[in-house]
């Protein structure tokens, strides 16, 4: 039986066993490959997406358990129309290999939605589940603070 999901505002009927994690539905079935596989056990954050605005590890959410609208990095912004946070990432030249950055950005976007003016401690607490082997953390921190500033000016 197909499961209906709303992803980045578009409805999809997915014909896969209900225990398949959302990550693998997005990547292999829908073709949204911006969301990455890093560990499969919620230890690295590369697969972070939003469900109803909440940051979740998509490798741990079974298809049957997706409780709301899914937003992936592709739904946050596009190369021609980047979200404010993505523009901050560009301005701070954050990414190196880039593989973890979709997850970093989705997690940071959820942080800023909850905590518009995060302290260093807030950033530490929210972002420590997102691993980056290139060590882009100092620039991620700077980009989050910059994005917070810009978002506060936009509203």
């Amino acid at each position: 039986m197909a499961t209906r999901l709303t992803i980045n505002g578009t409805a999809h009927d997915v014909d896969l066993p209900e225990n398949v994690p959302l990550l693998w539905v997005l990547r292999d079935e829908i073709g949204l490959t911006g969301t990455k596989f890093g560990c499969g056990v919620a230890a690295c954050g590369a697969c972070t997406v939003h469900i109803d605005g909440e940051a979740v590890r998509s490798c741990q959410v079974a298809l049957a358990d997706v409780w709301g609208e899914v937003t992936t990095i592709e739904g946050l912004g596009t190369p021609d129309a980047m979200a404010t946070i993505q523009q901050a990432w560009v301005d701070h030249q954050v990414a190196q290999c880039g593989y973890c950055q979709s997850g970093q950005i989705m997690n940071a976007a959820a942080l800023l939605a909850q905590t518009p003016d995060p302290t260093d401690q807030d950033i530490d607490d929210a972002m420590q589940g997102n691993l980056c082997r290139c060590g882009t953390y100092p620039r991620i921190r700077a980009a989050i603070k910059d994005a917070a500033q810009r978002l506060s000016e936009e509203t």
Binding site: Q101, R133, C134
Partner: protein, 744 residues
């Protein structure tokens, strides 16, 4: 084993005679341009292997693996600087495997002698010998070589293309080419007429690009500036494509379980897996199995359900046994002695100290587990792989499926981390083999994190013993022995089937090649003959010896009663001015006084690697809830800094990679298999543990140094030295979490 293979002078003669002989023989081949692998389409022109003019703009080939180090951006900037192409008009591609993209630095690195001692003549000799790489189709990214390699090649490619565009425009406008100038991707005539490069693409057909002189660096517009990375927008919008993002019609998804003992597979039972959801095929790969399914996760579930009996390992089966084997090789005769200054056996007055160090096995743990996509159609194979060695991987894939290299198309995608791991051929070859088992179906293969962790080519464990003598506050003798399996031999055997002659310099790099004026200074290399698969890990030998030698230098400074920063400065000043310069600079940046409050510790370390001297000061704090790293100051001298933002990022990245390893990383073995499987038991530095950084880039080095690796070697001893300053406890083993209460 354990034959003394080297006396520096003799090896130099034998080594260079052999290499120069080869070069003389192939002199014609060396000087002849390699064929241009680019094929121009309609309305396009390929001016050389690096520049393709299309109707829409300019495509530049940056034939080195973009694994995060920003190589595509700076290689493009080198060509664009001469080509006068507007930054936003540039498209940059990895390009195909091809001789034209050979690494012209690697072979020159094999010439004996510490790099910091290079004279202009010696430097030139390295460059000439490096060109022999062309004969070997040696296209590889590694050794922090890319900028040295392409500093002139890319600029010449850009300059020559620019002049060809002017010739084409001159013909069209009926004016001499010398009256034309170029700017912003256009040719401009004296009367103000402009022609866009794209509009000249077809007119370039009959024009031979001329050789011209390079511009004066004083006129540079892109180089020396922080350019917006060309891969940045793709990487923050999820649109940059890694090998595991390849999408093809009718694609199936695969994963593997390969022998974790690296010895093969005795038997397997796939009866439970065959009927699982989505499973299309289970393939016997001889030393493991692959599952092809309709979804990657379903393939991984089925792979786990296959019951496999592995062949026992051919090496000591546990960490202690492996360590004992390494220790035993210290008692054998040395395999190399590439540094032997003065006479360490002579009686030297002073205070003698000794120490023994151990560093563990390490995994690369790139964020993207090993992956590749492949399509086999019987008489052709297409592979998408994020890799550091395209020509070798193309050839290995061809061989694995019974084709010729000409029948293989290899697309190099972005790499989700490399650090040396993606120079290996295994993952691409596996994808090719799986695709060959299901012809005409594109197969996208990715490993589980556990498979990635347990099928790595590890940074080897190592043991070193040092004896030192200090006198009047200075080091007068260092006698060191380093034992470990040989990365260079292991990798060479795997990739070329042979062990190169001469001493293994990588085994002792970071120790034997340091710019220290110590009157009696000997470093002996002892190779351990065990078959654990090992490979290149960011900074290679210097990741081992950087920690061990510098920690010993720190111990000597304390034994001598000299400030540790001053002690290193005294050693470097007489030997290599740029090295002394970075030590001085980092002291100034950190406001080094040698004094700290009771809950603060500071350590300094220095290492010269890949042509770049780097000094670091690390500050640690006992917070009462554990020890954290507050700050790290880095000074590096690369001679010429082509992109300050990218180099700064590489320096901090290298240090974080090193801190991660030094703090907590260790691969252990039991029953012949690696025990760690995922980030919960092999973790790295994270947002809350990373310190603040301050980086200063100097440009006094007479030769260009590398950027990707030199930040790593000094980070580990700097941290250990800071912890000693804080606690009075000297950790002679890594990871440091075994000795200190670090906040993780």
């Amino acid at each position: 084993m354990g034959r003394l293979k080297t006396i520096a002078r003799r090896t130099f003669l034998i080594g260079s005679a052999a290499i120069v002989g080869g070069a003389a023989f192939g002199i014609y081949q060396m000087n002849k341009d390699a064929p241009n692998p680019l094929v121009a389409g309609d309305g396009e022109a390929t001016l050389n292997p690096f520049v393709l003019i299309t109707r829409d703009g300019v495509t530049l080939i940056a034939p080195r693996a973009e694994m995060g180090q920003g190589v595509q951006t700076t290689l493009a900037a080198l060509a664009a600087e001469e080509l006068d192409v507007a930054w936003e008009d540039i498209t940059v591609l990895h390009g195909p495997p091809a001789q034209a993209y050979y690494n012209s630095v690697f072979l020159g690195m094999a010439i004996p002698g510490a790099h910091y001692k290079d004279t202009p003549f010696k430097h030139e000799m390295r460059e000439q010998i490096g060109k022999v790489g062309k004969l070997l189709d040696l296209q590889a990214t590694g050794g922090s070589t890319s900028m040295k390699d392409f500093y002139e090649r890319m600029r010449h490619a850009g300059a020559s293309a620019r002049e060809a565009l002017k010739l084409a425009a001159a013909e069209r406008l009926g004016v001499p080419a010398s009256d034309l100038r170029t700017e912003n991707s256009t040719v401009i005539a004296p009367d103000g007429t402009t022609i866009a490069y794209g509009d000249l693409a077809e007119a370039l057909a009959g024009i031979t690009p001329p050789d011209v002189a390079l511009r004066d660096p004083a006129t540079w517009k892109y180089l020396g500036k922080s350019m917006p990375r060309l891969d940045m927008v793709g990487k923050v919008t999820g649109t940059a494509k890694f090998a595991t993002d390849t999408q093809l019609d009718g694609m199936k998804f695969a994963t593997v379980r390969m022998s974790p003992t690296r010895a093969g597979m005795d038997s397997y039972d796939d009866s439970a897996a065959r009927d699982m959801d989505g499973v299309e095929a289970i393939i016997d790969l001889g030393d493991g199995i692959a599952v092809i399914a309709s979804n990657t996760w379903l393939a991984m579930q089925a792979a786990e359900a296959v019951d496999i009996t592995w062949t026992p390992a051919n090496y000591p089966v546990d960490t202690e046994g492996l360590r004992a084997a390494i220790a035993a090789s210290l008692d054998e005769d040395a395999d190399s002695m590439v540094r032997d200054d003065g006479d360490v056996t002579s009686a030297v007055e002073g205070t003698e100290i000794t120490a023994e160090y151990y560093v563990p096995w390490l995994a690369h743990a790139t964020m993207e587990p090993m992956s590749a996509t492949a399509l086999f159609t019987g008489d052709a194979l297409e592979v998408w792989s994020g890799n550091q060695a395209p020509t070798m991987i193309r050839d290995a894939c061809a061989k694995a499926v019974g084709l010729t290299p000409e029948q293989v198309t290899l697309h190099t995608t972005y790499l989700g981390g490399g650090f040396g791991r993606r120079g290996e051929m295994d993952f691409s070859v596996l994808a090719a083999r799986i695709a060959a088992a299901m012809p005409d179906t594109p197969i996208r293969m990715i490993w589980s994190r556990e498979e990635d962790m347990r099928r790595d080519f590890y940074r080897p464990a190592a043991i070193a013993q040092f004896r030192g003598v200090v006198q009047d506050g200075k080091a007068v003798l260092v006698d060191g022995k380093v034992a470990a399996p040989s990365v260079f031999h292991s990798s060479s055997l795997r990739q070329t089937g042979a062990v190169p002659p001469g001493p293994d310099r990588l085994h002792v790099e970071g120790a034997a090649d340091q710019p220290y004026a110590i009157p009696h200074f000997r470093i002996a290399g002892h190779l351990t003959n065990i078959d654990v698969p090992i490979g290149f890990w960011r900074s290679v030998g210097a990741s081992i010896n950087g920690f061990m030698l510098d920690t010993f230098i720190d111990e000597m400074a304390h034994a001598a009663g000299t400030d540790p920063l001053q002690f290193r400065l005294d050693l470097a000043r007489a030997e290599h001015a740029p090295s002394a310069g970075v030590i001085e600079a980092v002291g100034e940046m950190a406001g080094w006084t040698g004094q700290t409050p009771a809950n603060i510790g500071r350590g300094v370390a220095f290492s010269f690697s890949f042509g770049t001297p780097v000094a670091q000061v690390v500050e640690v704090e006992d917070t009462g809830r554990g020890i954290r790293i507050n700050k790290c100051w880095i000074a590096a001298d690369l001679g010429t800094v082509l992109d300050p933002s990218i180099v700064e990022a590489q320096m901090t990245s290298g240090a974080i990679y090193g801190f991660s390893a030094a703090m907590q990383e260790e691969i252990t073995f039991a029953d012949g298999m690696v025990e760690q499987g995922n980030f919960y038991d092999y973790d790295a530095m994270r947002m809350h543990t990373v310190p603040e950084f301050e980086v200063r880039l100097l440009e006094t080095n007479p030769f260009m140094g590398g950027a990707g690796e030199p930040g790593t070697p000094p980070s580990m001893p700097a941290l250990g030295n800071a912890l000693f300053d804080l606690t009075g406890t000297r950790a002679r083993e890594l990871p440091l979490i075994k000795t200190f209460d670090l906040i993780l």
